[in-house]
């Protein structure tokens, strides 16, 4: 008891000491009153000192965000459902810019745009305040992308390599496997392939059905990926304001980890729905509508968001944010307004095609149109060695296959090219949630691109592809170790690998 008293006295003394050092300046707040409310938008008079993007507080504690500053009134978007708000009610400025308190405690959690937990567990308070809107790092603060971010997907890692700090767009129609690529990439970060740093993954769901989001969270949990992941959710049933803010919240969280020198992967799933939410808000605010009724600053909205993905210089800690924005197209139209905007902002795109998906080629990546503009520098030497001609060969095969449908008489060379292409296509097929190690990818891709599978019946290629790595791992551990180093293979290793592949092929025939 006496111990408690002493502690209490010490505590009071400390408080007293601190109060004495505080210089309390009288609080000057700016007030206004509600003129009209509707569709999550409040128009208020007064608030002459309010700033753009400032958080405001209504009588009763409801929060809002200043979105329009007109001569006579201020337009505010509501951040929560608030049926208690009525005309004439007071609203005051807070002097705060909207932000999130970020700490390590967020890892493994499912939160909404305002950092409220959605997984039923309490969220520990504290952490560092990061503003939702922030200027992207400048040129001097950055360094080139040179470290790979392995997705574990053979087709991506071989043909469209992605580096840490890159922005790679995943684009395609509905149900073509866009989210699957993103989720596989998150799951693959568990492997920490090539001895690379752990990547913190942030999955930002925008405008999706709650059932879908729950399924994705369950998949991540089952794969053990929630140990290094954060899910930011603004579902279809949330207000457009929350949907608009979700990617900014995810980026602010990512920036906290990037500033600590860590690598971050953010998946924005998807930015089409984000654009819809912003269009909805803009139309309600009576901002002038442009093409497809989107506001004039829709490009700036996405460019300022994605520009925050960067690889910082060593001086700044060397952290990075890699982002995978997802865009849903309508009937494969990649030339629509939002897709072309985001294509021009990002450092490459993975284009998924419904036809390929329906014909059983999964991931349904269009090898000809998909590119990675900066990832080549981040690809390992061994992967470069085996996958060099792969993209071109596959693209040529797909166009050749389309022509071959019309004629039956094909010359030997063309037939050979078609057979090789079929085998490459077969090798690049991959089941969902089964990411590959770099060494396993190298073995499969080398076998196909070097023509070692040309004499194997097509129906056996899939079996070969699934078993070959395990075979080599058991029979020749030294070889798998040398493949896992990422260094270019010398002639001896190439011969050894070819011989092991030949031996395994014999067991299949």
């Amino acid at each position: 008891m006496s111990n408690n008293n002493i502690r209490m006295q010490e505590f009071l003394k400390e408080i007293e000491k601190r109060i004495q050092t505080i210089d309390v300046i009288p609080l000057a707040s700016n007030e206004g009153s509600i003129i009209s409310i509707g569709d999550g938008i409040v128009n208020a008079s007064g608030l002459s000192q309010a700033g753009f993007g400032e958080e405001v507080e209504f009588q009763g504690g409801t929060r809002g965000l200043v979105f329009n500053l007109d001569e006579e009134q201020t337009s505010i978007i509501l951040l929560s459902e608030s049926p208690e708000l009525v005309e004439g009610m007071k609203v005051k400025t807070t002097g705060r810019i909207l932000g999130v308190n970020v700490s390590e405690n967020l890892i493994g959690r499912v939160i909404n745009s305002l950092e409220e937990p959605l997984d039923g567990k309490p969220l520990k308070s504290g952490g560092k305040l990061y503003p939702l809107e922030k200027i992207a790092p400048g040129v001097i603060e950055r360094q080139p992308v040179d470290t790979p971010l392995k997705t574990g997907i053979k087709a991506v890692d071989a043909m469209i390599p992605i580096g840490r700090g890159q922005r790679e767009l995943i684009i395609g129609d509905r149900n073509t496997g866009k989210t699957a690529i993103a989720i596989d990439s998150i799951i693959n970060q568990k492997k920490r392939d090539l001895g690379l740093k752990q990547v913190i993954c942030i999955y930002c769901a925008i405008g999706q059905k709650r059932g879908n989001i729950a399924r994705i969270v369950a998949i991540l949990e089952a794969a053990g990926a929630m140990d290094y992941s954060i899910v930011v959710v603004a579902s279809a049933s949330d207000s457009p304001a929350l949907q608009y803010l979700a990617p900014f919240t995810a980026t602010a969280i990512g920036e906290y980890f990037m500033d600590r020198g860590q690598d971050v992967l953010i998946v924005y799933d998807d930015l089409s729905k984000h654009a819809w939410a912003y269009r909805q808000i803009s139309l309600l605010l009576r901002r002038p509508a442009g093409r497809e009724a989107y506001p004039g600053d829709i490009f700036y909205l996405h460019s300022r968001l994605l520009e925050r993905s960067a690889r910082l210089s060593e001086k700044k800690g060397g952290g990075s944010i890699t982002s995978f924005p997802v865009i849903e197209t309508q009937a494969g139209d990649v030339a629509a307004y939002i897709p072309t905007n985001v294509i021009s902002i990002t450092d490459g795109q993975i284009i998924l095609e419904a036809d390929l998906f329906n014909s059983g080629i999964r991931p349904a990546i269009n090898a000809g149109l998909s590119v990675s503009r900066v990832g080549g520098a981040a690809q390992t030497k061994i992967m470069k060695q085996v996958s060099g001609p792969l993209r071109l060969e596959l693209a040529q095969f797909r166009s050749l296959a389309a022509f071959a449908q019309f004629g039956s008489d094909l010359d030997v060379e063309t037939q050979k090219q078609l057979d090789r292409g079929k085998r490459i296509s077969e090798v690049l097929k991959q089941s969902q949630y089964q990411p590959y190690d770099e060494a396993a990818q190298v073995v499969s891709i080398y076998a196909a691109s070097a023509g070692l599978l040309d004499d194997l019946p097509l129906e056996k290629v899939s079996e070969f592809e699934q078993k070959i790595y395990n075979y080599i791992e058991v029979k020749n551990k030294k070889l798998t170790q040398s493949l896992s180093r990422g260094e270019k293979m010398d002639n001896k290793t190439l011969e050894e690998l070819s011989s092991e592949i030949d031996k395994f092929k014999k067991t299949l025939k």
Partner: protein, 116 residues
């Protein structure tokens, strides 16, 4: 009537400092509801710009009133009784300066919390 004309009308009302019967008849009878709302809102804004309201729980003594009136010599100072607790609140247009005991305690608490 355009907003600009309504603003001119409101400015004229304030300049006259008395409510002209002809003007009030015109405003109340002739203006449509939308224009009337705009006119009244702008009139309130103009009046607020020229007025300082001092809110206090008890009636302030004459000496204190004089000091405050001297401080805001160019403005029309109005003393209003309100439930603000100990101290006063100064309302200038839409800005509120909180000089109440509660305000000081809140500020101190906020600063302490942000330091911890």
């Amino acid at each position: 009537m355009t907003n600009e004309k309504l603003k001119k009308l409101a400015k004229l009302t304030v300049r006259l400092k008395v409510i002209d019967p002809k003007l009030s008849y015109f405003v109340l009878r002739k203006l449509p509801r939308k224009n009337l709302i705009f006119y009244l809102r702008y009139l309130k804004k103009l009046l607020d710009q020229d007025t300082v309201r001092i809110l206090s729980a008890t009636k302030l003594n004459a000496g204190l009133r004089r000091i405050i009136e001297r401080k805001y010599r160019e403005k029309n100072v109005i003393f209003v009784k309100d439930r603000v607790g100990d101290g006063i609140k100064v309302v200038i247009n839409d800005t509120i300066i909180d000089l109440t005991v509660k305000g000081f305690i809140d500020q101190t608490m906020h600063k302490l919390k942000s330091e911890i």
